[in-house]
Symmetry: C2
Subunit: 483 residues, 2 copies
C-alpha cells in the first residue's frame, strides 16, 4: 500500500524534464568541457581494437551442422540466418544473417535533482565498435550475460539500483526494441530512476542536465545509441502545468522558433491531423493486412551470402558483413575479449520530415517492417535508409539528399551501438516544410504530433530505435540562454 | 490531410459510450425480449454438432512426421506441441498441445447513433462449441481464412466495412491477444466503427445499446467471448466532460453504489496506488527478470500426453483434451464441416478482487505468464484458474471459492469462444472488500484503478482476454432506470 508521500511523489512524476532540458549548464561539468572530459577519459585508459580472422576468435565457433556462429557458453548472442517473406511494403523474400540475442539487457540512467534541476549520471564508456572508442553512455549498460556474470568479470558499477528491489523513483521504465534490420526480436529495458541520496563519484562518470546532453548531441559520435534511446522516453514538455510553473506558458504560445514549435507539438494530443484512435487503427490495419513470415534458417545455406576466413558478406559486397574483432580495455568488466561484430558498408540516413498543420508541428511517421522486428511493424522516421538494403529508394528520400534551402533543423552524425556494430554511423536529420507545402501521403505513412509520438513511446514496441534516436536529438536550442 | 470536419469528429471521439451504457432500453429490441430473440434465431435454423473420431475429420490429418494435426490447405489452424521452460511465477517445464493460428482475424462491431444514442449491430451467431449454440456475436467475426475465402464459402456479411479502405469512424481498433493457455501467440483485430448511414437489416442481426448488452451479460452464455473482448475497449466513462454533459457529475462524485464506484475508478488515472510509470516499470521488471523459453515441438512426442482415436489427452485425464467434431448449420458460410476443438474438463474461474484506496476503487491485477502468450506476461484477473493447469491453488483463490458475505458484485457463467472450445465455461466474478481490509500483495500482483487498466487497454497485448472479458461485464446496474 502506497503511503501519502509516495502518492504525492506520483503526482510530481513527469515533471522536471523541461527545466532540465532548458538548463544549458549543469552543476558538475561546464558544457564546453564535456568533449575534453570525454577525451581525457579516452586518454587515461588503454584501449585497442583490431579486426581478426574468425579462427582467432576466443570461445566463439561455427556450429558444424548449421554454420551458426555462437559462444561456447551459449550466452551473449548468436549469428544465425533469417528468411523473411513479406508483402509489406512490397512483396519480397529477404535472406540475411541476423544477431539473435534473446535476453533482455538493462540500459539504465540514474537521475538526481542538484539545486532542484534533474541531472543524469553519464558514463564515459568504451565500446569496440565506436568510431572514437569512448562515448557518453548510460549509468549502467549491461546485457543479461553481463550482469549475471557469465564472463566472470566484475559486476557492472551501480547495477544494484536497477535490479529488484528497485532503488529510486521511476521516471521511465520500458522494454524497447533495437535495430530490427540486424537483431532478431532484441529488446532492452530502458530505465531512468531518480534517487535522493548522493551517489559515490567515480572518475569515469559525470552528472549532466538534459540541456547539456542535447548540446553534446550536436557533436558527432559523442553520445551513444543506448543513451539516445533512454533519453527519448523523456518528453520535452509533458503538461501545460509544467510550462506555467516555469513562467513560460505565454512565450510557448507565441514563440516563432523551432524550439517553440517543438514544445507546442509535444503538448498536442488533440486537434491533430489524426486522433489517437485513428493512429492505433492505422497501425493495427498495417499489421492485420500484412503477411510477414519470419523463419530462422541455418547461416550455412543462406542464399546470396558467403563466408570466408575474414567475413560473412553478401556476394555483391553490399549492405553489411559480419566480421570478428579482438578488443582490449583496462576499465571493462573483462580486460580483453574477442567477438563477432556487424560492419556496415555505408552511412545510413534517418530523417523526419516535419510540417505544421493548423500551427501544430507534425512528424511524418512510417510504418516500417524489419526482418528481425519484435511485432511486425513499428513507427519509424520518414526515411530510414542504409544503402544495400531491400528498399533502394524510399519515398521522400530526396528531401534529405537535397533539402530545400533553409529547411534543415537538425543534421548530425551519430553512432549505432558500438558493442554490436563496427563504425556504423547514421546521419540524423530533420527537414521542416512550411504549412503551405503539399506533401502526398504514401501508403504506410501518417502525420503525428510529437505529443502523439510520446504517447506511443510510453508503451513497448511502437516507436523504433531509429525514430527514438532522432527524437532524443530534438533540443530547445533557441530557448537556452535567453536565445 | 484531414478536413476540418474530420478534425471536429476527432474531438468528439471517445464520447457517447457512457450514454449508451446508461441506456437500459434501445430503439430496436426491448431488453426483456433479447433472450427470446436469440432463442427464435436458434429455432429458425437447423444446427447440429456431434463429436466424431479423428479419422472421420474431412480435410484434416496428422502429419506423418511430427504428428501435428493440420488442415489440407495449410490454413485455419494447426494443433502442435509446445514445451515451455520458465522461472515465473515458479520454475517449471510445461508440455501441452497448442493451437497455432498465426493469422490475424477480424472481430468487428458496427455502431450507429439512433436518436443520438450509440447502438451496436449484434449477430445471433452459431458456433459449434457453444453450450446453447447461438450467442450474441460481433457484426463480423472472421478469421483471415474466412474472409479470404479459403473454405470457398460465402463472404461474411458486412465485412466490407472493415477492410481497406475502412468505412466509418474509428471508435476502437486494436490487436488483442486470445487465450495464451491454448493458442500460440494468437491475436485478433478488435474493432468498432461508427457509421452514419442506415445499414441494410438482416434477420440474424439486431441493434443494441451498451446498456442492453451489459444486461444480456447477466444471463449465462448469451454474449460470446468475441463480443466481450471488443466491448472491453470501450471505457465506462472516459472524461469528466462526459459526465457533465449528461448532468451526472454531482451524482458521480457522491454516489455510494457500486456503479458510482466504477465510474469514479474509470476516471481515476492519478492519485492511484501506483503511478503510470510505476505500473509500466512493474510489468517491465517482470518481463526483464523472467526467463521464458518457448519451443514448438512435435505433437507426437509430447511427454505426458497420449493420442487415441477420439482425443489427444493428458495421461491423468485432467485439464483439457483435443477432440474432433462434425457440425452443420444452414446459415454459416459453409453448410457443413468438421474440425478439431479443445474440450476443457472443468469450469474455470476468472475473478477480480477489488477494494477502495482513498475512496478510489482499485482492481488487484496479476502479471500472468501463459505458454502461448504473445509477449511473455500480460495483465490478468486476480485469479484465473482452470483445474488441471500448472498452478494448482493460486493466491487469493479462497476469496472466490468462499466470498465474504455481501462482497459479491458480479457472478456469472460465460462461454469461451465456441469456434475453438467445446462447452468451455468460466465463472466470472468480482469480489469487493472494504477499504479497511488488509490484503497482502503477492509477488507479481499490483493494484490498478479501472482508468489505469483502460489506458493499457488502448495499446496492444497488455491486458489479457480473461481480464478483458471480465471488464466487459462491468455495468452500471444501479444507475439504470433511476435506480
Amino acid at each position: 500500500v502506497a503511503s501519502a508521500d509516495a502518492r504525492r511523489a506520483n503526482l510530481r512524476a513527469g515533471k522536471g524534464f523541461l527545466a532540465s532540458a532548458l538548463a544549458g549548464e549543469g552543476r558538475c561539468v561546464p558544457t564546453s568541457a564535456i568533449q575534453a572530459w570525454l577525451e581525457d577519459r579516452r586518454r587515461s585508459h588503454r584501449f585497442s581494437v583490431r579486426p581478426i580472422p574468425f579462427d582467432r576468435l576466443q570461445s566463439w565457433s561455427f556450429d558444424s551442422d548449421t554454420g551458426n556462429l555462437h559462444h561456447a557458453t551459449g550466452r551473449f548472442f548468436t549469428v544465425e540466418g533469417l528468411r523473411v517473406t513479406t508483402n509489406y511494403p512490397a512483396p519480397a523474400t529477404l535472406c540475411q544473417p541476423i544477431l539473435n540475442q534473446p535476453e533482455i539487457g538493462i540500459l539504465g540512467i540514474l537521475a538526481r535533482r542538484i539545486d532542484g534541476v534533474l541531472h543524469f549520471l553519464m558514463q564515459a564508456k568504451m565500446e569496440p565498435g565506436n568510431i572514437n572508442l569512448v562515448q557518453l553512455s548510460p549509468t549502467v549498460q549491461a546485457t543479461r550475460s553481463n550482469y549475471t556474470q557469465v564472463h566472470r568479470g566484475a559486476r557492472p558499477r551501480y547495477l544494484e539500483y536497477f535490479v529488484e528491489p528497485r532503488r529510486g523513483r521511476v521516471l521511465a521504465d520500458q522494454l524497447q526494441s533495437e535495430q530490427g534490420a540486424f537483431f532478431l526480436r532484441k529488446r532492452n529495458r530502458n530505465v531512468i530512476l531518480e534517487v535522493e541520496e548522493e551517489i559515490p563519484p567515480h572518475e569515469d562518470y559525470c552528472w549532466l542536465t538534459l540541456g547539456q546532453l542535447k548540446a553534446a548531441l550536436r557533436t558527432a559520435h559523442a553520445v551513444n545509441m543506448d543513451t539516445r534511446t533512454v533519453l527519448s522516453l523523456l518528453p520535452l514538455a509533458s503538461s501545460h502545468l509544467e510550462l506555467e510553473a516555469l513562467g513560460l506558458a505565454e512565450r510557448a504560445r507565441s514563440d516563432g522558433s523551432f524550439a517553440g514549435a517543438l514544445l507546442r507539438s509535444s503538448l498536442a494530443t488533440s486537434g491533430c491531423v489524426s486522433s489517437a484512435e485513428e493512429l492505433a487503427s492505422w497501425l493495427t490495419c498495417l499489421k492485420a493486412f500484412s503477411e510477414i513470415e519470419v523463419r530462422e534458417v541455418p547461416l550455412r545455406s543462406l542464399p546470396g551470402w558467403t563466408r570466408d576466413e575474414h567475413s560473412i558478406h553478401r556476394d555483391d559486397g553490399g549492405y553489411f558483413s559480419v566480421i570478428a574483432i579482438s578488443a582490449e580495455a583496462d576499465n571493462r568488466e573483462v580486460p580483453g575479449w574477442s567477438q563477432p561484430i556487424v560492419r556496415t558498408h555505408a552511412t545510413g540516413i534517418s530523417g523526419f520530415l516535419v510540417k505544421p498543420f493548423d500551427g501544430i508541428l507534425h512528424f511524418l511517421v512510417q510504418g516500417h517492417m524489419e526482418p528481425g522486428i519484435f511485432d511486425m511493424i513499428e513507427m519509424a522516421p520518414t526515411v530510414q535508409f542504409l544503402p544495400g538494403s531491400a528498399v533502394q529508394t524510399p519515398p521522400y528520400l530526396d528531401f534529405f539528399l537535397d533539402p530545400p534551402p533553409g529547411s534543415l533543423r537538425l543534421d548530425g552524425l551519430q553512432s549505432e551501438e558500438g558493442g554490436r556494430f563496427y563504425h556504423y554511423q547514421t546521419r540524423n536529420m530533420v527537414v521542416e516544410l512550411p504549412e503551405t507545402a503539399d506533401v502526398e501521403l504514401a501508403r504506410g505513412y501518417v502525420w503525428m504530433s510529437l505529443g502523439q509520438i510520446n504517447q506511443f513511446l510510453r508503451y513497448n514496441n511502437f516507436v523504433n530505435i531509429e525514430a527514438r534516436g532522432l527524437i532524443a536529438c530534438l533540443g530547445l536550442d533557441e530557448w537556452i540562454g535567453g536565445g
